[in-house]
């Protein structure tokens, strides 16, 4: 199937006439001619209907939470309540210029301040910054604060961050961006960190450790209190990658586990949309020892008034042009106000219930759990190594076949420790009926792999495209439509 680009629909002279102001009668005043374009910007010349139809049709080629189950491990693809979108889009919130005086945005600041307080409560941390615009920026803020903390104590030797081998790729990438060395430690056979490996890594160069709990293997780190004790005893700090907080919301507080800094992916646990890759928000909570180093700005309440504060002398600085992804923060505020105190634990309980039920049933059906002896968190790993050895069908093939069944594929080949793995996270918003349908689909694919492996290896067959040639894409990068850029 060949689909047209918007540039193919373009016809010189056509335009969406309702969408541009009248032409100015005079040439732009005061600007030297050499600064003015000699031809119009090479953009499509199309009608409004052309645009609406083209992009509506493109949207229909996507899977999304609104249209499909999305058991994508580590990504927490739960339902994004429409109320969050509708209310964050009220004109009183959208039409606010970032330079508007605090007195004119008290309603907005009150929401953000409440969000800070609610996030502090659910993490057990002292203070929250809402500035980071994604989880990775939250990680950057956390690790930069670790560095600032050590330096403020005159300790300049701590240039290593310890990261388990199962960690998200952003963890080591963040440590490198902060100019720290990454020290990777092994995970044991049971899915917990090897304490001996930790001891070997700890020392006077340890700035801290970055952990996800439950880990990316989907299991709770049972030695967490001991890890916390040993890292602190060595003079290091603990960073909590909150990507998996959905497993513990309201049940276990990162602060209780001994973490000094926590980032939260509001687009995961707090149900703000993924938007095809963003925008997210990566609020960070810290213990009181790190509070002086928090990025600016943050919202403060004083004498009954809310205001932005930026005057912290020891702050690691600014992370965003303005106060962060405020529209995303408002969606999280709406979600948390709807969830309320009594809803927190129900989220984690049902996310964990769904994951355990799914894991249990799949094991009954003969799938291999990576950690069969362990209780699953909100997600779990299965390995298709046995199936691959028998049939040649890989985890990637299996994932593609799931698309044909109408399910988004689980995360594949991550974590890196488990061969031919699928990381499956159903979330609490999927019904038991949806889980049963997922199990049936996976059994069907497995049976197909045994009876007609070639059909599975060439999947998908019913999607808008067949498997794309990724090698060609990387070898001869075609990143822009050349005819649209030609200058003639």
């Amino acid at each position: 199937m060949t689909r047209r680009l918007i540039f193919d629909v373009s016809r010189p002279g056509r335009r969406a006439r309702a969408q541009a102001p009248a032409a100015e009668s005079a040439a732009p005043a005061g600007l030297p001619a050499k600064l003015i374009r000699d031809r119009k910007a090479p953009l499509p010349a199309v009608s409004e209907l052309d645009v609406v139809r083209h992009y509506t049709r493109l949207s229909q080629l996507n899977f999304s939470i609104d249209t499909n189950s999305y058991p994508l491990g580590s990504c927490t693809m739960k339902y994004n309540p429409r109320a969050c979108h509708r209310l964050a889009s009220l004109p009183g919130f959208l039409d606010v210029h970032p330079a508007a005086p605090d007195a004119s945005v008290q309603g907005l600041l009150q929401c953000l301040h409440e969000l800070q307080d609610m996030l502090a409560a659910v993490t057990g941390m002292q203070a929250i910054t809402l500035a980071p615009m994604a989880g990775a920026q939250g990680e950057f803020a956390g690790v930069a604060m670790f560095k600032a903390y050590h330096h403020a104590r005159g300790d300049h030797a701590r240039d290593e961050i310890i990261v388990p081998d199962a960690a998200h790729g952003t963890n080591p990438a963040t440590a490198a961006m902060c100019g720290l060395k990454v020290r990777e430690i092994a995970t044991g056979k049971d899915g917990d960190i090897e304490l001996d490996a930790l001891d070997a890594a700890l020392g006077p160069r340890t700035a801290g450790i970055m952990l996800t709990n439950p880990s990316t293997l989907g299991v709770f780190e049972r030695h967490i209190l001991e890890i916390s004790r040993r890292v602190h005893a060595a003079g290091g700090l603990l960073y909590y990658d909150g990507a998996n907080l959905n497993a513990l919301l309201g049940r276990v507080l990162p602060g209780d586990m001994g973490f000094d800094a926590v980032h939260l992916n509001l687009h995961k646990t707090f149900s703000t949309p993924h938007g095809g890759g963003g925008p997210g928000a990566g609020a960070v909570g810290v213990a009181s020892s790190l509070q002086p180093f928090l990025p600016v700005p943050y919202v403060e309440k004083a004498e009954g008034e809310y205001r932005w504060r930026s005057d912290s002398p020891d702050s690691i600085g600014k992370l965003a042009a303005n106060g962060g992804n405020i529209g995303v923060l408002l969606r999280a505020w709406v979600y948390l106000r709807m969830l309320g105190r009594e809803g927190l634990q129900r989220v984690a309980d049902h996310a964990v219930l769904n994951a355990n039920y799914l894991a249990f049933r799949l094991a009954e059906e003969g799938f291999d759990l990576a950690y069969p002896e362990r209780r699953a968190g909100h997600e779990f790993v299965i390995s298709l190594k046995r199936l691959r050895d028998e049939t040649g069908v890989t985890a990637a093939d299996f994932a593609k076949a799931m698309l044909d069944e109408g399910f988004h594929a689980p995360t594949v080949y991550f974590p890196l420790l488990v061969p031919e793995c699928l990381l499956i996270e159903p979330t609490e918003t999927e019904s038991p009926e949806a889980l049963d349908a997922l199990i049936e689909a996976m059994v069907r694919i497995r049976d197909a792999a045994l009876s007609d492996p070639e059909a599975v290896r060439s999947a998908p067959h019913r999607m808008p495209v067949r498997r794309p040639d990724e090698v060609l894409a990387a070898r001869k990068p075609d990143l822009a439509h050349a005819p649209a850029l030609r200058r003639d």
Binding site: Q19, A41, P44, Q60, A103, G278, L353, P468
Partner: protein
């Protein structure tokens, strides 16, 4: 809890099947000392009607202001179609398109977006977005250091006329890797003074960075900057406002190596400062040092056109600590909005918007500088926004204007103390002639009553001596 679909009976059946008695048993590997029976204390939950009531009240507590502020965030008309389409669940609630077959819509759209940004900036390629203009600038600096293999300076020279928040964010992000940002101060015409840098810091830079138009509305001579970069063996990084490129010659035509910018003007609401959209484009030779996602066109197993995320070996999920950046989540939904904006406006529409913004701002500057005690800071061409100097501190003037429902601009006097009482003003195509008159009248009332009173006194004393008619109504 509003979004859990399980009936109580179903949850029990699921637990039963696993041989568990209650939900709490699901946490049997969590140490008892950590497991809470009581949830943390936050507000009790609300239904949709209840939260709607509160949200409306809060939104209502924000005072709408007639906006004459720019400085990196602009009130433009946002065509209705943009957010109708961008809010479709298929764009709003999908994930990063790692499974290409289930995301051809997002991938093709991103490819079209990359093409439009490349075309608008006159560059070869653009990425699939960064967080905002400030982080795009920081990433452009990091990228330039990686790209410039001839230099080991680990220093970037940046014009002080580039957005203060962009410079601040770049300092935060460059600091970790020991890369220094050296600022070239403003000369009398608001241009960056590189002689100062040479005299005080010396040469040797990985890149030289400037914005066109700059934060102060000035238009740098990019030909001269290209020549300077060549002489220094430095890359040229140019910050842009995408709407301005509807009218202005793009930086690619001046030989820019890397272009970064704030994409908010492309159909994205101001929303108190975010989410915005970081633009990044470069010459083809630098692609492999580019941070962030890239969509590419290829063919599928049947030989038909298909789109994928490509060159992922640059990224954190593959390269881990040796990745070009730690960025993972980007601003995907804002890319949808910007793509629809550029498609709806087209080259002609973008030219008109840019021209209208320039014309409205010129009218605004003319109207405001007619007031005593208000003058332009620089006698140089400006685009879309300009700096005014007041004869008194800016903050109380802006506060008084806000009392009258006007956001009179951005107070830049603490960011640029060398400019004195400096106010950055802007009028987009949304401002009418009446709006401008309204602002000028209000400002005159605030800054000129003393002048009027003084004139009145002079007139009165003149009348006493010369018995001339009262002209106080026409004095100001």
């Amino acid at each position: 809890m509003p979004f859990v679909p399980h009936t109580g009976e179903q949850a029990e059946e699921m637990l039963d099947r696993m041989g568990l008695a209650r939900l709490r048993d699901l946490y049997d590997e969590v140490p008892d000392s950590l497991l809470r029976d009581e949830p943390p204390s936050i507000f009790p939950g609300l239904d949709e009607a209840g939260v709607t009531r509160i949200a409306r009240e809060r939104a209502g507590n924000n005072t709408p202001l007639l906006c004459f502020a720019g400085g990196g965030a602009y009130e433009h008309h946002i065509p209705a179609a943009i957010w109708d389409i961008a809010s479709r669940g298929e764009f709003y609630s999908n994930y990063t398109p790692y499974q290409a077959e289930a995301a051809q819509g997002s991938l093709q759209l991103t490819y079209e977006y990359q093409t439009m940004i490349a075309g608008l900036t006159g560059m070869d390629v653009a990425n699939a977005s960064l967080y905002d203009g400030a982080t795009a600038f920081a990433e452009a600096c990091l990228m330039a250091v990686r790209c410039n293999r001839k230099s080991d300076a680990r220093r970037i020279a940046v014009a002080r006329s580039l957005h203060p928040a962009w410079r601040a964010v770049a300092r935060t992000l460059l600091n970790g890797q020991g890369i220094e940002l050296v600022e070239a101060p403003l000369d009398d015409s608001g241009r960056a003074d590189f002689n100062y840098v040479y005299e005080n810091v010396g040469g040797g830079f990985d890149a030289i960075a400037v914005a066109a138009p700059n934060y102060l509305g000035g238009m740098p001579d990019l030909e001269a900057w290209r020549a300077l970069a060549d002489r220094e063996g430095a890359l040229l990084v140019v910050g842009i406002n995408p709407v301005s490129l509807g009218l202005l010659r793009p930086p690619g035509e001046f030989g820019a190596d890397i272009v970064c910018g704030e994409g908010q003007p492309l159909g994205i609401p101001m929303s108190g400062g975010g989410p915005f959209l970081g633009l990044l484009a470069c010459k083809a030779q630098y692609i492999r040092q580019m941070p962030g996602r890239l969509a590419g066109r290829t063919v599928d197993a049947a030989g038909d056109t298909a789109y994928v995320l490509t060159l992922q070996a640059r990224e954190q999920h593959i390269r881990r600590s040796r990745a070009t950046s730690n960025i993972c989540t980007n601003q995907g939904l804002m890319v949808v909005a910007a793509t629809l904006y550029m498609a709806l406006l087209g080259g002609e529409g973008m030219r008109r918007v840019a021209s209208a913004c320039h014309a409205r701002t010129a009218q605004l500057v003319e109207a405001l500088t007619a007031i005593g005690g208000v003058r332009r800071a620089f006698d140089a061409p400006f685009f879309h926004e300009d700096v005014l100097c007041l004869d008194r501190p800016v903050a109380p003037v802006l506060a008084a204007l806000a009392e009258q429902g006007i956001l009179g601009g951005v107070d830049i006097s603490s960011e640029y103390p060398e400019l004195g009482n400096a106010l950055l003003v802007c009028a987009t195509e949304m401002r009418t002639e009446d709006d401008i008159i309204c602002y000028a009248r209000a400002l005159r009332e605030i800054v000129a009553p003393r002048q009027r009173a003084a004139r009145n006194r002079r007139a009165t004393s003149a009348r006493r001596t010369k018995h001339e008619p009262d002209d106080s109504g026409q004095t100001t």
